[in-house]
Every structure is written in structure tokens, then in C-alpha cells.
């Protein structure tokens, strides 16, 4: 079956699921039916995406046609195939999760209907073959995600978070429209395929302007710094599977958009565009993880981690563009492959982590890391699944994050092949920034896993959490996917290389994958790596000593004694590391970025320590809100105040406006 057929099946499944949910009006049976249909649609999406990846761009299908809105045109392109497979996986996992997570009711029915329509909208974005379809689908995804975030409108901050999402989404949308309009106007075509073939006719200035507008517009959705502000506001207030969908997929749609413009629509541009993209990605990655280290709220922490991963993906894309500009076609294709691989990995483990954050919030009633602890004893299955996701996102071997980051690093390290010293140095600086990010990511996720799951419970809610009835299948499927993406890396690389071959026209094989399960980054004289063998080796290195110990263990009596805690009489959970103290060294080192403010009030100044309660508060300055968004908002408000006199309410003045506008239109039309 062709990829488009699978896409139709998936679309049909999601529509049926939405209809089932709405028709049932909250009846549990129909909600379960909706989830099952949604899961099946997800599976179809995976098949369609894989098929598109492998077989290349399908034909364009047109439907309808009107002068005003144009035609609906769909195509399963191979670039979109990677993202569509991810969409299918995420939708399937979330469907399995939603089965157990939500209580049945009319609000849940509406929510699930919106969710399924959002999946449909994302598929439409990916399958869009012309500008109008793309933009309509994009905008509908934005509105549906806004409704997703508003699941519990009565709770604090929900409306604010949803508004941040919508406002920045719309701002990006305006820029996207501008970018597409430029391209469509200059190539006289609305169809993406035709734009791609004719793009070399677009003058260089307009091309660069279109790309920059697209980078910024898609950057709002993807979460490039400083356009990322909606992520930490919207994610905590959305329900767990909504946040998972946002981070696992919708943010990746931003990356899809950037890849669409950089690799499919536009020909290879000047190097400075690639360097700019790479720089934006590197800075985003570093800043994202630095802010993640300061968060106590699990979901805000994961949101900043999403920003970090977007940065890594965009860095890979930018470096690919730079290599393309210098004629290094193999590295151009290779870094696109590495970026797509990271998109798939990020979607998988980030969705997993958000779903598990939902489980934690459900069982303990809090997202605050400092109120958790010892959950590995209370939620053993969730702990194992979360550990797999954490190892993946921290890019520790042998899991999938390590594979894709290794590929990106190997691509970046070959910056010397560009032949330009300056560019080589800039690429190495980007690699160094990614290295810093990787180290901080490990730090952040040791904290993000260790504080809630390990140690002793810090509060009663954490000590009494119970795992019964919590969803396991959805996150479990994603954990299996993480391992599969790692161990099956040669297969993934094979599939992606076919997609990359269709997009860029560069065949990376056979250099990329000599037959022995090793991956070679574009050039044989540089390095090689086999994720499969590494996994086998690591498992053996862990298991074999354990087996030796078990077989040769002396049969002497052993005594079980408590952990040595320094001989303390009572070890209280409050004596453990808290999330904020664990990350305190970063606040010291990077205080120029954080500008922390500390306020402390003592009841009295008794030097003997009997001063009574002490109130200590430390806050990281929200740099972007304070120095970028607030001034912009104030400027807009000032402008609105200035324009307000025009809306005097006097009908005669309005008629005058009408007359002036018609006059101006005639004049412009005549010229």
C-alpha cells in the first residue's frame, strides 16, 4: 500500500475517533473506543511514514478547487515521512495512555475529540503539498493545541499558559505566511514541488528573506531562544498527554518547517544562513538546559529540555546547510540525517517523560520535585520506564539519544573539510557548545530522575503513592521504541538515508553503512561506530561480572546492616539534597545569565541561632520576559493607544475612511 493510502487510513481513524468521543458524550465505552481507534490510526501513521521514508515522494493528490482558497493538495514526501512515523508513534502511545489516564466524562470526550483532530491536523501539515493546505493545517493545529492546553480552564495559570502559546503561535504564523507568500509570488506557483524546482529563479535577497522569515516563524513553534517563552508557560498547565503531544510532536513540526525550507524548498544558500541557523541552535541548546537546571516543577523542567533538544536539531540542520554551501555534499546529507534521527529520538523519549510526569502528578498530587522522593519503591514500573527515557535523553550509551548525538558530533567535528578557517572554528565552537549542553543535560537528568525517584520520600504524598491503575502500556511502548531506535540504529540510518537521498539527491550509501552494522559519518577516513555492538558489549560488561560474582560467591554468613549514614541518630528526608541545592553550582557559575535575586527575612537577629523562622526566597530573573517581551508588549500597547482616537465611533469618520481606502485602491491598481 502506498504511503498516501496509509495516511488516508490514519486520517480516517482519527476522524472516527473524534466522532466516537463526541457522540458518546463522555460514556466510558465510547471513550475507550475512541482511544482504540486513535491507536489504530497511529499505527497506520507509523506505516505511512515508514513507507514514505523508504519509497520516496509520492504523487500529489488534489481535491476541490476554488479561486479564493485554492485546492487541497496532499503528498507523502519522504522528508515528512520521518515526522509522520513519529506522529504515528506518539499518537499510538498517547492513545494507550489516555485509555487509563482520563476519567470518563463530557469534558474528556471533548478533549479527546480535539486531540484526535489535532493529530489529523499535524498529519495534514506533514502531507500538505501546497501553500494553502499547509497554512490552513498549521493554523488549525495551533488552535486545536490551544484547546488542548485549556483542558482545565478553571485552574490557575492555565489561561495564561494557553494564551502565551496562542499569541506566539500566531506571531509565528504571520511570519510564515510572509515567507510562503514571497516564495509563491516569486515562483508563480502554490505547489511545494513546483516551488522547489523553480526556487533557483528567486533572487538571492528574496530567498534569504524568505528563509529568515521561515526560520523565525517556525522558530516560534520549535522553541528557538528567544522565541521559546511559551514552552515553560504552556507545558505545566496542559494535561500530561497534551504536554507530551506538544513537546513530542508539535515542537518537532517547527523543526520540520525549518527542514522544509532549508532542504526541500530552497536550493543551497549562502554559508552565513547556515551559520546563523547553527548559532541559533547552539545558543538555544545551551540556554535551554541552563534554565532547565533551575526548575523544580517537573513539567517546566521537561519543557526547557525540549528547548535544548530543539537547539541540537537546529544546530545539525544549520551545520548541514553550511557544509552544503561549501560543496561538502556528503556531510550536507549526513547532518540532515543526523538531525532527523534526533527528531525521532527526541519525540520518543520526551513523550515518554511527559507521560510519566503525568503518572507522577496523578499518584502524588504534585509536580514539585522537592515534594517527591523514593518513588522507585512506590512506582517500580514507572521508575524503570522513566529510567530508560532519562538515559535516552541524557544521551548515555547505548540508548538512542547517544546514537543521534554522536552522529551530530561526528558531523560537526568534520568542520575542517569546509576549507575556511573561520567557518571551521565556528563549527567547532558550536560543537563545543553542544558538548557543554550534553554535560549539563546529564547533570540535569541525574537531578530530574534522582530527586523524585531515588532517596527517601520527602512528603507523605510521595511516600503513599501507589501504582495500581496507572497507565503503563503507552510509556512502555515508547521505552521499547527508545531501545529499538538504539539497537536497530543501522536500520534507522538506512531508512533515513533513503529519505535524505530523495530530499538532497545525495546517496550516502554504501559509505554510510558498510555491511557489518557499523555507521560511518559520511567520510570513511574519519570514524566509525556500531551502536548494536556497543549495546551488546555494554550488556556483556555488566552481566558477566555479575555472573562471575554469583557463581563464585563465598558461602559465608552475611549480616545485613543499615546504610552508613555517619552514625546519625535519625536520618530525616529533609536532610537529603533538594532539587535546587543540587543545581546550586550552576547558579553560581552562570549567575550572569540567571541574575538570581535572593531575599531573606529573619524574625530576629539573635546571633546564637535562635532567631526563629527564616524566610528564604531565591528567584532567577526571567530575562526574556523582562527585557524582550514586556517592552514589545508595552510598545504595542502604546501604539494601540495612539491609534485609538481613530475609532471615534463617529459613523461619518468611518465613511471618510472607506472613501480614502477605495481611492487608494484605485490609485494603486491604476499604477
Amino acid at each position: 500500500m502506498s504511503a498516501l493510502t496509509w495516511f488516508y487510513l490514519a486520517a480516517g481513524g482519527w476522524v472516527l475517533a473524534a466522532a466516537a468521543a463526541l457522540a458518546g458524550r463522555g460514556a466510558p465505552r465510547l471513550i475507550h473506543t475512541a482511544c482504540v481507534l486513535s491507536g489504530l490510526a497511529g499505527a497506520a501513521g507509523i506505516a505511512g511514514g515508514a513507507s514514505a521514508l523508504w519509497w520516496g515522494n509520492s504523487r500529489v493528490v488534489s481535491a476541490g478547487g476554488s479561486v479564493i482558497v485554492g485546492t487541497l493538495q496532499l503528498q507523502a514526501s519522504s522528508l515528512a515521512g520521518a515526522f509522520a512515523a513519529l506522529l504515528g508513534l506518539v499518537a499510538l502511545a498517547i492513545a494507550a495512555y489516555a485509555f487509563r489516564y482520563h476519567e470518563a466524562g463530557p469534558h474528556t470526550a471533548i478533549y479527546l475529540a480535539v486531540f484526535n483532530l489535532a493529530c489529523l491536523g499535524c498529519l495534514a501539515v506533514l502531507a500538505a503539498a501546497n501553500v494553502v493546505t499547509f497554512l490552513v493545517a498549521w493554523e488549525s493545529v495551533a488552535l486545536l493545541c490551544y484547546l488542548l492546553i485549556l483542558r482545565h480552564p478553571g485552574r490557575t495559570d492555565v489561561a495564561g499558559g494557553a494564551f502565551w502559546f496562542l499569541a506566539l503561535s500566531e506571531t509565528g504564523f504571520v511570519l510564515l505566511v510572509a515567507a510562503f507568500v514571497i516564495l509563491a509570488a516569486k515562483t508563480h506557483s502554490m505547489q511545494l514541488d513546483l516551488i522547489a524546482t523553480r526556487a533557483h529563479l528567486v533572487p538571492a535577497g528574496w530567498r534569504d528573506a524568505a528563509y529568515l522569515l521561515a526560520l523565525t516563524g517556525f522558530g516560534f513553534k520549535a522553541g528557538l531562544v528567544p522565541l521559546h517563552v511559551w514552552l515553560p508557560e504552556a507545558h505545566p498547565v496542559a494535561p500530561a498527554d497534551g504536554s507530551a503531544f506538544l513537546s513530542g510532536l508539535v515542537v518537532n513540526l517547527g523543526a520540520y518547517g525549518i527542514a522544509l525550507f532549508a532542504f526541500r524548498l530552497l536550493p543551497v544558500g549562502p554559508a552565513w544562513l547556515g551559520l546563523l541557523t547553527m548559532g541559533a541552535g547552539a545558543i538555544t541548546a545551551a540556554i535551554g538546559i541552563l534554565y532547565a537546571l533551575n526548575e523544580r516543577d517537573l513539567k517546566r523542567f521537561l519543557a526547557f529540555s525540549t528547548i535544548e533538544n530543539t537547539g541540537i536539531i537546529v544546530t545539525a540542520f544549520g551545520a548541514a546547510m553550511t557544509f552544503g554551501a561549501y560543496g561538502q555534499r556528503a556531510l550536507w546529507a549526513f547532518l540532515l540525517l543526523a538531525g532527523l534521527y534526533h527528531v525521532a529520538n527526541h519525540g520518543t523519549y520526551k513523550t515518554l517523560l511527559f507521560l510519566e510526569a503525568g503518572v507522577i502528578e496523578h499518584t502524588t498530587g504534585t509536580r514539585d520535585m522537592d515534594r517527591l522522593g523514593g518513588l522507585i519503591h512506590r512506582l517500580p514500573r514507572s521508575a524503570v520506564i522513566t529510567l530508560i527515557g532519562t538515559l535516552g535523553i541524557a544521551a548515555l550509551p547505548p540508548l538512542n539519544g547517544f546514537v543521534s548525538e554522536w552522529l551530530i558530533f561526528q558531523g560537526l567535528f568534520q568542520g575542517f573539510r569546509t576549507g575556511s578557517h573561520l567557518v571551521g572554528i565556528l563549527i567547532v565552537v558550536a560543537a563545543a557548545t553542544l558538548g557543554l549542553t550534553g554535560g549539563l543535560a546529564i547533570y540535569a537528568f541525574v537531578r530530574g530522575y534522582g530527586i523524585p525517584f531515588l532517596g527517601m520520600a520527602r512528603t507523605r504524598q510521595s511516600a503513599e503513592a501507589a501504582e495500581t491503575g496507572q497507565p503503563v502500556a503507552g510509556p512502555g511502548l515508547l521505552a521499547v521504541a527508545c531501545v529499538a531506535l538504539a539497537v536497530g540504529a543501522p536500520l534507522v540510518v538506512l531508512a533515513l538515508s533513503r529519505a535524505v537521498g530523495t530530499v538532497t539527491g545525495v546517496t550516502l550509501r554504501p559509505d554510510l553503512l558498510p555491511g557489518n552494522l557499523t555507521i560511518i559519518p559520511a567520510h570513511t577516513d574519519f570514524s566509525a561506530f556500531s551502536p548494536t555492538y556497543l549495546t551488546v558489549f555494554l550488556v556483556a560488561v555488566t552481566v558477566v561480572p555479575v555472573l562471575i560474582y554469583l557463581s563464585g560467591r563465598p558461602g559465608a554468613d552475611s549480616v545485613t546492616v543499615p546504610v552508613w549514614d555517619g552514625g546519625m541518630v535519625t536520618f530525616r528526608p529533609r536532610m537529603q539534597y533538594s532539587a535546587m541545592t543540587f543545581s546550586a553550582p550552576t547558579r553560581v557559575t552562570f549567575d550572569a545569565l540567571y541574575r538570581p535575586s535572593v531575599s531573606m527575612h529573619r524574625a530576629s537577629d539573635d546571633p546564637a541561632g535562635r532567631s526563629g523562622p527564616v524566610h528564604y526566597e531565591t528567584e532567577v530573573t526571567p530575562v526574556f520576559q523582562r527585557y524582550l517581551y514586556t517592552p514589545v508588549v508595552r510598545a504595542v500597547e502604546w501604539l494601540a493607544d495612539v491609534i485609538r482616537p481613530m475609532q471615534s465611533g463617529d459613523v461619518n469618520v468611518y465613511l471618510l475612511y472607506l472613501f480614502l481606502v477605495i481611492l487608494a485602491a484605485y490609485l494603486i491598481g491604476a499604477l
Binding site: D557, P562, G567, M568
Partner: protein
């Protein structure tokens, strides 16, 4: 004249060593136990890790203990080493009169040491002198811990400490048991 092998004294810490049957010939298990203890004592003689524990002393004993590591006395040449971690320690060197507020910590430190282990009470306070049991002190560390070797002194000089450690690992014979502390021995007046 040693009262049995020092490594055997705290028998409850020795795996597989039964207490000696009173008044009978040492049986085969005891012989095997002695062999094990002798092996352990030989090991300890080559490398012994010492964990010091201050249960409320005035720190004079700690000063002398610290001097053991200095070049003049240099306990490392005899195979002794200091370690802060009870998990890595073979010998617990206890000073101070065992303040009651500390006994839980002392017990925990002792239990954190893997067997076989030796406890050496150091200084007059730890042996039961100077402080009598009251509401704040136990008076002697033997109230809480099973002591194998006792080192008197206030504070015991580093030489006395070295002798005590060597007695604990059976490299020197105990001497004080044979001393009478009576100036002229011929005055053994019959009662």
C-alpha cells in the same frame, strides 16, 4: 600472657567460630577457628585499617593518635593505616567516656564495620576511669561496645598506642598482665 587470641575475643563477630567449651580439650572446630583467626591476625599484621572514634574525650588522646601518623612514630611502616570509613576499617580505636548522647552513633559505627573486627579502648576515660557513670556518660566504652584490647594512659603516648595496636594484631605479647605494680616483689606478704 595473652588471654586467648585477640581476634578470638569478640567471638560473636567471627563467622564460624564457636565459643570454647569450658574445661575440655579444644575440639576440631576450635582448632579450625584458631587457624582462621591466626590467618586473620597475620593479615591484620600486614595491613590494618584503623577508624578512630571520639565518644566525648578531651582530645588529648586524639592528639597522641594523630602523632602516630607523624614521621617520628610513623605507623604506616608497621602496616597500619587510618581510614575515615567504618566500612573499610578493621579496627575501631575508641576514646572518651562514651557520652550517652553518642551511644547510638557508636553502635552504628561498630555495626557498619565488616567482620572480623577489633575494638581497642584507648585512654583512661574509655577504660572506666576519670568519669563515673551518671546521667550523661556511661563511664566506659565497654558498656556499649565489645572491647578486645585496652590501652591505659592519660593520654597514652604514641609508643603505648603502637604497643597496643601490635598486641591487638598479635605481633607483640601482652606485658601488663605479668606486672604487679608492687615495688619490691619479695614483700609478698602472706595473708
Amino acid at each position: 600472657m595473652t588471654d586467648g587470641d585477640p581476634a578470638l575475643s569478640s567471638q560473636q563477630d567471627q563467622p564460624g567460630v564457636p565459643p570454647p567449651a569450658s574445661g575440655s580439650e579444644p575440639g576440631p572446630e576450635l582448632a579450625a577457628g584458631r587457624q582462621l583467626s591466626e590467618r586473620i591476625a597475620r593479615q591484620f599484621g600486614r595491613s590494618l585499617h584503623i577508624r578512630t572514634l571520639d565518644t566525648g574525650s578531651c582530645a588529648a588522646c586524639e592528639q597522641e593518635i594523630r602523632l602516630l601518623a607523624a614521621p617520628h612514630y610513623d605507623l604506616n611502616r608497621l602496616g597500619f593505616f587510618f581510614t575515615p570509613a567504618p566500612r573499610h576499617a578493621d579496627l575501631l580505636m575508641v576514646t572518651g567516656p562514651m557520652v550517652r548522647a553518642f551511644d547510638v552513633a557508636a553502635r552504628k559505627t561498630y555495626e557498619a564495620m565488616p567482620g572480623p573486627k577489633i575494638v581497642v579502648a584507648t585512654g583512661a576515660c574509655a577504660l572506666g576511669g576519670v568519669y563515673q557513670p551518671d546521667a550523661f556518660v556511661h563511664g566506659s566504652v565497654a558498656e556499649i561496645l565489645p572491647v578486645d584490647v585496652w590501652i591505659p594512659g592519660c593520654p597514652p603516648s604514641p609508643l603505648a598506642l603502637l604497643q597496643g595496636l601490635l598486641v591487638a594484631v598479635d605481633r607483640l605479647a601482652e606485658k601488663v598482665g605479668g606486672l604487679s605494680f608492687a615495688a619490691d616483689e619479695t614483700q609478698e606478704a602472706a595473708q
